[in-house]
């Protein structure tokens, strides 16, 4: 298998030479992943686009790692010649930090950035565009953040049809029929 991953490994070599990568690996054929500091974002994107011909900006995504207090932002590029998807990952603090705006490199990045700004509340330095992209009059915490609990918000905001209050839980039904006492520490393993 290794010889089929030649071009992927080569790409990784080139990037390693040029940038200080925090990590980098070939995920599988046609997928290469590198992790970098967020100051390096613009240089590496420009390098990939202009020098390596990764001219297609496929995707940009954000993942909330709330336990670490970080957002992970992923830029995914595609080279029509090499036919490789290059995943460039970086992490940024959930509060107080921002990422550089890249919509001068690729115009469509503007859409992704506006969405991430709206859904995660992650600011992009120098991003121009309507504040409201998908939501309207949203005044809660940005909804895609993991600390936004959607079902709680729903039960406060919207209605639920009545008539279902007589529903029973099977576990409780069985517990009620016997003299079994479920200790508290075991309850988290019950079916939810």
């Amino acid at each position: 298998m290794t010889d089929t991953l030649n071009k992927e490994n080569k790409l990784l070599e080139v990037l390693k030479e040029e940038f200080k990568l925090l990590s980098g690996k070939v995920k599988r054929s046609r997928r290469v992943e590198v992790v970098i500091e967020n100051e390096q974002i613009i240089p590496i994107l420009l390098f990939a686009k202009e020098r390596l011909n990764y001219i297609h900006f496929s995707h940009m995504s954000c993942v909330d790692w709330i336990e670490e207090g970080k957002f992970e932002v992923i830029y995914i590029l595609w080279s029509p010649e090499e036919k490789i998807n290059l995943l460039i990952k970086t992490k940024v603090a959930r509060e107080g930090e921002d990422l550089p705006n890249i919509d001068f490199i690729w115009r469509q990045a503007n859409t992704y950035e506006r969405e991430i700004r709206e859904m995660y509340g992650l600011p992009f330095d120098g991003l121009v565009g309507r504040e409201e992209f998908i939501l309207e009059d949203w005044d809660e915490i940005p909804p895609m953040r993991r600390d936004f609990i959607t079902n709680e918000y729903v039960s406060e905001t919207y209605f639920e049809r009545e008539g279902r209050e007589d529903a029973k839980d099977v576990r409780e039904q069985i517990l009620g029929r016997t003299d079994e006492k479920l200790p508290d520490f075991a309850k988290k393993y019950s079916r939810d």
């Binding site: 279902r164 007589d166 529903a167 029973k168 839980d169 075991a186 393993y189």
Partner: protein, 594 residues
Amino acid sequence: MSFFNLKGILSPVTALKQFGKKPHTVGFPEVSIEASDRYRGLHFNDLDACIGCGNCSTICMNNAIDMIQLDGIEGEKGDSGLRPRVDNGRCCWCALCVEVCPTGSLNLTKEYNFVSTDASDFLWTPGLSNKDKKDKISFVSDKETSLTEYTRVPMRELDGMERIKSFAEAVLGYNEEEARREASRCISCSLCTESCPDHMHIPEYINAIASGNDADALRIIYDNNPLPEMCGKVCTRRCEDVCAISVRGEAVAIRWLKRYATETAKNADIIKEIVNPEIREANGLNVSVIGAGPSGLTVAYYLALRGYNVTIYEAKAKAGGMTYYGIPKYRLPEESLEKQVGYIQSIGVKINFNTRVGKDISFNEIYEKSDAVFMGVGYEKPWTLGITGEDLEGSLQAVTYLDAINSGKEINIGDKVAVIGGGNVAIDAARVARRKGADVTIVYRRRIEDMPADWEEIEGAEDEGVHIMQQGIPLEIVGKNGKVTGLKIAHAEMIPDPNGGRPRPKQIEGSEEILEMTAVIGAIGQEGDYSFLPEEIMKQLKIERGRFVVNEGGQTNLSKIFAGGDSVNKTADAISAIADGFRAVKAIDKFLNK
């Protein structure tokens, strides 16, 4: 392109040739198209086949399915008595509920027209509101496509011919990967807990194992069972009989999972470290327990945790009662019991070994110095076969035989042995005799499928080369010079019971034959031996058909005396004894803290 493009104008006109063709328009409402044979329409639930496990309600991410009580459907063991109700204002017709239904009772139909002016109409009970739609069922999930895993992770065992060479444990137990895989088959419906006499928290500890938390599993298990490793090896596991998955497949191996969880703690200290029980301050009350069998140990363990001063009087040299002396070591190794008993002793339970009540210490002495007495004395006196020749040398009872082997004594049985009976004890005796090198035949009055023994035990015996003679009625033990030389039997045919009971064996005339034997082991049952009780207590105590009469807490008519185990309940297995003990603990605690 020229301005005037004749082809461009005329081509579309060719559409006119469709004129007069039969339209493919659907007539409505006269002829409505029937949905396909796999259409995912409205639900249909076979209310009789449904066991109310609630798995449909759990998988539904739309919260569309509620479990509700319906008129005329009562819960029983293996049936929660609840049935799903669907909110079609939530249902997305994905049919995941069908895919996970372990019994296959919930299906989707071809019906899809559901139009109403009233939004509350969309809350309905499948199978009740659409009784007549059974023939419209379209989307079903059979055993092959269902997401319920019907096949159990196989248990690794020693090979049959390897097993008979020694008393090494035959079942090897799950390793971690197998246990996780098996545990993840469980759908956590909790129907099993009702049928367990001790009501162990089965879904919880299985879930703990599945999520990789063995320590929590052990803690949950020790919540109401102080001898879980013993149960994990030899329990009669009624829980698995009612497992929701067993309706269409193999039940979750609850017993083996419990065994896995308990075996992660290698010795008594580790158990203590993991379970880390809260032991209450001593309250100065004394409780005596007669017999260190499962019920006695249970009472002792949980009362000791509650701060009582507990002393056990055990006639024999080892604790465990029947589980030590009646169960062969290849099923329950000695170390395993010693580990568990060691843990029970480590929290402050005193066991006086080799102290037979009525001989080494009088019952009255115990009775006087204790605030409560628990009798977990069991059934040790075997029944005899009641046929001629039982006084011959080589005719013996299974319990006596097992007791002797487990105590390290040898009994000469020769090389051709008949075991009479079809219960677990018979199989145990047969397999032990096999390990002693004999050629063993089990003689049973009915058919193999009628045997009360576990099917795994029967299979294990067959693997080891034990012959099973079904429909054989023992008539006489034949002997010469005071020694057994053979067993006279008659063959039987099965007569269906006119009252609908199980078929009875009837002797076929003239089918008698004599099998050559060097020993005959009877294994048809035991009874209690209450000779240790003083006469005046015996007079007062209520005993019916050889069993103490007790209330639900195990209290006899003498309020200070409690009893449990085989000498109280008819099921006569270890887990019932533990359950008796657990109930008695609560009753004793309540009785003494009035």
